[in-house]
């Protein structure tokens, strides 16, 4: 198998201790769970998406586990500005604060709360199941550019997380780049639904949700590959990664680092497992692998 040399990882203005990042919204609601993921070997962590107001999220069921993935509609539950408290024990650690809002002003307001504490910002313009937020911003290039600019003013690295639920993801990627993004994260979940036969209704409280996990890996690879061809800022791959091989495949598609979410289910030690399979002193230099499938 293909292995990589260890070494400092610089991506989109952030220094990571390895290429593996905790994805937004997974075990990221409290400072202590973020700290745990760092202890478990994550190279950096992304928080739960924080918005302008506290939200309880959608009624349950919020998540069902499928044979080859996970379907969720959490509905962006978040403590809003109180999340600042959670970051105190994390000072000095690579913590990327995921934020969402309904317009550039809201993005800017939320960012302002974390202007001192965040290592970087990740803009969630891609959640497929929260009306007025997420993908409802992220399908509109002008809004994406404006929201990115609004956060770029804080002089922290800005990553923009994209939805695959668009006709052409590269248009959105370019809009983020034009807005001053330091990196693109691809992808958020794929809009999806399952129905309970016996209940004769959608299983999620919100009816619609987002598909993550193994099922979407080939879609994520495609999106990363497309963005790498069209944009000039680093791409961070996300979607269905669960092994060192998956990480390498994402990197070959063009990812400079990766985020991992669903695969942590039942395996909080996954970061360390992947690291030990991925890194080797005799491995390739990451730059030899990143984007090599484009040649």
């Amino acid at each position: 198998m293909i292995r990589l040399q260890r070494g400092p990882v610089e991506v989109g203005g952030v220094t990571l201790s390895n290429h593996l990042i905790l994805a937004a919204g997974v075990l990221g609601t409290s400072g202590s769970s973020l700290a745990r993921m760092l202890r478990e070997g994550a190279g950096a962590v992304v928080s739960k998406s924080i918005g302008p107001e506290p939200r309880t999220g959608h009624a349950g069921p919020c998540l069902v586990v499928l044979e080859d993935g996970v379907l969720n509609a959490m509905g962006l539950p978040n403590p809003s500005h109180e999340f600042k408290e959670e970051l105190k024990p994390l000072e000095g650690e690579p913590v990327i604060i995921s934020i969402f809002g309904g317009n550039p002003e809201e993005f800017s307001e939320v960012a302002s709360w974390f202007a001192n504490s965040a290592t970087a910002f990740e803009l969630n313009v891609s959640c497929p199941h929260a009306s007025g937020y997420g993908a409802q911003i992220g399908t509109n290039p002008d809004l994406v550019q404006a929201c990115t600019s609004a956060v770029a003013r804080f002089n922290k690295p800005v990553w923009v997380k994209l939805t695959p639920n668009v006709t052409d993801i590269t248009l959105i990627g370019k809009a983020a780049e034009d807005g001053g993004a330091d990196a693109l994260v691809a992808i958020n979940t794929v809009r999806a639904m399952r129905i309970s036969l016996e209940a004769k209704r959608p299983v999620l409280g919100n009816r619609f949700g987002g598909l993550s996990g193994k099922a979407i890996f080939p879609i994520a690879i495609r999106c990363v590959y497309e963005l790498y061809e069209s944009c000039n800022i680093p791409v961070i791959g996300c979607g269905g990664i669960s092994s060192a091989d998956d990480v390498v495949e994402m990197m070959m598609a063009g990812a400079s680092a990766v985020e991992i979410g669903s695969a942590l289910r039942g395996n909080p030690g996954l970061f360390r497992e992947i690291s030990s399979a991925l890194y080797d002193d005799n491995g390739f230099l990451p730059k030899e692998i990143i984007g090599c499938a484009h040649e």
Partner: protein, 252 residues
Amino acid sequence: MSDNLPVMVNITRIVEESTSVKTVFFDKKFEVRPGQFVMVWVPGVDEIPMALSGPDSITVQEVGDATIALGNLKPGELIGIRGPFGNGFSPNGNILAIAGGVGAAPLLPLARQYSKITFLLGARSAPDLLYTRILSECTNLMIATDDGSVGYHGFVAGLLREMDLSIYDSVCVCGPELMMKSVLDVLDAKGALKMGQFSLHRYMKCGVGLCGSCCIDPEGLCVCRDGPVFRGDILQKSELGRYHRDACGRRS
């Protein structure tokens, strides 16, 4: 492996245990370790965590939308079950069970499964005591009520403080947060923290260790997956009894 959608079960009967507590029986049995829980879907309302009080039952205290809706369902109506989830109790040797209020639910299967359990059952008042008939049959039952209407007058922790714990190997606890904190303190005082097993309640959404809503400080453990049952020594420096997080993730 296959999709893990909620399994819909038919309600077969509903038993009133006390004014605001009902046991809901359904037509499918789940294999469960005492202390494991399921996510119960009340279609059109919400999905909430519940201990299985038996292989085919949950015991519900009506406190809000979903629990009241559950209590109002009629035999023949459907609810969905995901799980069982979590670790459950792992008692050994001589067992002391301590239950407060509806916290008796996950301890009932324990009482049924193990012989010679001593069971401390606490509640506000006599009519709030759960399962007294069955518990008095299969356990050495001791009762405490806050108002002294029956049994020991006071909290279970008070009763516990007066007991000799040296004869027990495991202490399995479930009840309101503050009751559990008091029990934890008593165990601590008696140098018996490690034999304590506490079943925690935290806001749960996914039940499978992904969403993070149930995580407890300071270790970031998931109550849904690393718990809900934790050893006393692990909880000693935790948030237990001090704060918890609400549906938004705010501390309260």
